[in-house]
């Protein structure tokens, strides 16, 4: 079952999805096996042996008008980002395509607070927006076969972090020492829809130092003082 709130990416629509996600989770229905909030819809995986579609629909329609009480405030995160060229294979090309200097691209990327629209594509992969229009580029025509884990990448009006190594079509402009997914942590994904994220530039030296610590998702703490 899919509840759609629109067809486009916008914050208002996404907040409704997050609110419904919270409201349905709070019902703790045994019939629901999985909830998948996305930019503009909530996918509800259910067990039809426990509840037929029609009954579940009635149950969910009842909570739809009252979503505002379930608005989710989210957490604030500061994610260290190293823009060293050795870790950022596409940074020069992005700067060239946007007629900006590398420093301007970094300032642009690290100067904004991003909203976590959804987590998908890969375990713990966050879709963060909105990326400044000045550095928005289409996806690569030919995806890279191997993007290293923790790579920070951009495409269109979005930025993301690859939690695990994967093929991918986004432009890699940096890397974080932080783990965004850890199957032994509870919950395994660091970020959740509705959270806010800033990237804070770190030197290569600092990146190497933080990478050695290899702290897991459980060790990470959201910012006490919101960045916004």
């Amino acid at each position: 079952m899919v509840v759609e709130f629109g067809e486009e990416i916008d914050l208002h629509t996404n907040r409704k999805v997050t609110a419904l996600h919270a409201a349905v989770s709070a019902l703790e229905l045994a019939s629901i096996t999985d909830l998948v909030p996305t930019f503009r819809s909530l996918a509800i995986h259910y067990d039809p042996d426990i509840v037929p579609f029609a009954e579940l629909e009635i149950e969910l329609r009842a909570i739809l008008p009252d979503l505002s009480s379930h608005s989710f405030s989210g957490r604030d995160w500061s994610i260290p980002a190293c823009y060293d060229l050795d870790l950022s294979p596409d940074l020069q090309a992005v700067a060239d395509s946007c007629s900006l200097s590398i420093e301007q691209v970094i300032r642009c990327h690290s100067g904004a607070t991003y909203h976590v629209y959804m987590v998908g594509f890969l375990p713990g992969y966050p879709y963060l927006g909105d990326l400044a229009a000045e550095i928005a580029l289409p996806r690569k025509i030919t995806p890279s076969l191997r993007i290293p884990a923790r790579s920070i990448a951009i495409a269109e009006r979005m930025t993301a972090v690859y939690p695990i190594e994967s093929p991918g079509g986004w432009h890699v402009i940096g890397r974080t020492p932080m783990r965004l997914f850890d199957e032994t942590a509870t919950p395994p994904a660091l970020l959740a829809p509705g959270d806010r994220v800033r990237f804070s530039p770190v030197t290569r030296h600092e990146y190497d130092r933080l990478s050695k610590n290899d702290s897991g998702v459980d060790d990470a703490q959201p910012n006490k003082n919101p960045a916004t």
Partner: protein, 349 residues
């Protein structure tokens, strides 16, 4: 003493799978689990396990394994393959039937000849840690199953039981899996992204399983499906069996390791009862789809569960009486007992 199955050769792509990992799709964690859940359940039931127990999923060509424990009860169910004990001396082993092997026995599962995969279950199951509540291997994420990957030579798969329990063997005489073509599909949720002709094509023409098939999805060859409103949607959730159609107009059916969200429009979804039937098709096999409804899908699912209930019932009868009841077999076509210790197949021990 440690009880294991020792891997001599891993086979083409052998992984530990159960019925999947639920509750974490909101974090992008795929469900995974057996591609042919029916075959996995049958293999488990034949060795006396809960149907949800993790077993080995063997894609295309199987492993060579050595028994490194006192004894182990095994059943292989799914596609047909030659199973052979290689050492101490060669002996053909059955499929769809439980049997016991002993310390030092080396056996192999040959190429799966009629389907894409087969399953090997061991009595008691494998002694492995769970990852996020499941034993299923998700190789892209490197978690679940045995060290998050497919088997490799010299792996040692720990077993829960050091020896097979004392009980009669079980044999599934019909030796076929439930499910038959055509594959039933519910249109949507983005059927409106396609022309009416595209929907007609999907439900009237024949498709072929291409070579591009893995645990994540099955790409089909056949007539192109024409988009009416472009081929990009704002990403939304996918379902097991979702048929997404990228820009080239050729459908991809999403399978066990499917990504939780996707940006291609989905013309329809294979009903859950038919998903094992589809997943077991090999490259080059032909497929026909028929249009179905939510009500039919629910009914088909219920029928499948009833089939397994009857299967379990027959196993219980065979197990307690130790007698093959020919009437029950003819009417139910399910399971017969008993290959006892006097069976000639075992006389070389």
């Amino acid at each position: 003493m440690i009880s294991t199955l020792r891997v001599h050769k891993p086979g083409l792509h052998t992984t530990i799978q159960d019925l999947g990992r639920y509750g974490l799709q909101s974090m992008g964690v795929p469900v995974s689990g057996a591609l042919d859940s029916s075959a996995l359940r049958i293999a488990n039931l034949l060795v006396g396990n809960e149907p949800t127990t993790a077993a080995l999923e063997v894609l295309a060509a199987g492993p060579t394994l050595e028994v490194n424990t006192e004894s182990v009860r095994i059943a292989v169910a799914g596609g047909n393959a030659l199973i052979e004990r290689l050492s101490p001396y060669p002996r053909r082993l059955p499929t769809f039937e439980s049997f016991c092997l002993h310390r030092g026995d080396v056996f192999c599962i040959g190429p799966v000849t009629d389907m894409a995969m087969t399953y090997l279950a061991v009595e008691g199951g494998f002694d492995l840690p769970t990852a996020m509540g499941s034993h299923s291997t998700y190789t892209r994420g490197g978690f679940g199953g045995f060290k998050g990957r497919q088997l490799a030579s010299d792996d040692e798969l720990s077993l829960i039981l050091p020896a097979a329990t004392d009980r009669d063997e079980l044999r599934f005489v019909e030796r076929t899996l439930p499910g038959e073509p055509p594959i039933r599909v519910i249109p949507g949720p983005q059927a409106d992204f396609f022309t009416a002709a595209a929907l007609d094509t999907l439900f009237s023409r024949e498709y072929t399983v291409s070579a591009a098939v893995d645990r994540m999805g099955m790409r089909l060859n056949g007539p192109q499906l024409e988009h009416a409103r472009g081929f990009n949607i704002t990403s939304d959730g996918t379902a097991p069996g979702s048929i997404q159609v990228p820009g080239d107009g050729l459908p991809i059916v999403l399978l066990a390791d499917r990504q939780t969200t996707g940006g291609y429009p989905k013309i329809g979804c294979v009903i859950s009862a038919d998903l094992p039937t589809l997943a077991r098709l090999r490259p080059g096999s032909t497929i026909r789809f028929s249009k179905s409804t939510l009500e039919q899908a629910t009914e088909a699912r219920r029928e499948r569960e009833n089939w397994f209930a009857r299967f379990l019932d027959q196993i219980k009868r065979a197990g307690t009486s130790g007698i093959i009841d020919p009437t029950a077999l003819q009417t139910q076509n399910l399971v017969s007992g008993v290959v006892g210790p006097d069976d000639p197949a075992d006389s070389d021990r």
